[in-house]
Amino acid sequence: MSSRAGSFPASARIIAAHGSSAAGPVVVPWTGRAAGGLPHGGSWTWRNLPGRWRPGRFTSQAMGRRVQVTIAGGSSEAGTAVIDERFDAATLHLLRARVTACAAAAGMPADLVPEVTLAVHELAANAVRHGAGEGRLLLYAAPGSLRCLVSDAGQDAGPWSVRQGHGLWIAREVADQVTVSSGPHGSQIVAVFSWRGAANREGRGSEAT
């Protein structure tokens, strides 16, 4: 794999977190460094802060496969990178299995996991079909939410022609928030999936969305 600079960093460090989960979404500034060495910065909106997320490794069963999941980096109040992976057409199905495993491990209610997996897949498939044929997924877990960043991996691909097909529409239906941004090195989609009351999620019926 060539060492192309992504449009978001390989690792990000949360530099401050304000507010608390009870007050609703929290804006968290961050800094990081892209694969090409360029520093990045920005802010993310998180819900349900603060919380605990421990780094480590575990195995999980996903779609009939045994999946090794690595929780990279240290925990922070704003969430931990649980997936940082490049993908193409040949690895989309593996990416789905990883998203399913990580969503379940993050405490997402079981009835939400398939549709969140679908939504992330649709964003990744969009990058494969309409971008450079490959892309990169970053998935951050925080208590009560997952944040997904999908970017085109190729800086020579130009901005995506993000199509308003059913794929993006499904992602917008499932996610609480979907943001599409384009730059000279491709485009990036950020999607946030959150759930409430992870502790008493048994009470969530399939209709009670």
Partner: protein, 127 residues
């Protein structure tokens, strides 16, 4: 087939097709296709099969999707395309017994309002 629309991949999908001749004096036939596994943007076999079976203009093309563990919008689009083509030819396409993941995608995309969905092949044939 649209150029570059479908990308070769490694998703597992098995397709089995069975065809019944039309009943006495009736023209056309009934084709039952059973899909098992995962169908996504990389699953070329789905579009190929639907194109080939649709070209035979069966009176009724039934897609048993009870064994599908995953379907994405691109694979669903192939089914919608086949549905439209068949309808234009005066034929029917229906989905049989969607698994929960398939039912959810149909609901999210509102395509359950477009494509007929039945609990069994017998129920679909009786329509």
């Amino acid at each position: 087939m649209g150029q570059g629309d479908i990308i070769p991949g490694v998703t597992d999908l098995s397709v089995s097709v069975s065809t019944e001749d039309g009943e006495d004096g009736e023209d056309g036939s009934r084709t039952l296709v059973r899909l098992v596994g995962e169908a996504d943007v990389t699953t070329r076999v789905l579009g190929d099969m639907l194109g080939a079976e649709g070209a035979k203009k069966p009176r009724l093309l039934l897609l048993d999707v009870s064994g599908l563990t995953f379907i994405d919008s691109a694979a669903l689009h192939e089914i919608v395309r086949a549905y439209r083509k068949l309808r234009a030819d005066g034929c029917r396409l229906a989905l049989i017994s969607p698994s929960p993941p398939v039912a959810r995608v149909l609901q999210l995309s509102a395509l359950d309002q477009v494509i007929p969905v039945h609990a069994s092949a017998e129920e679909a044939s009786a329509q």
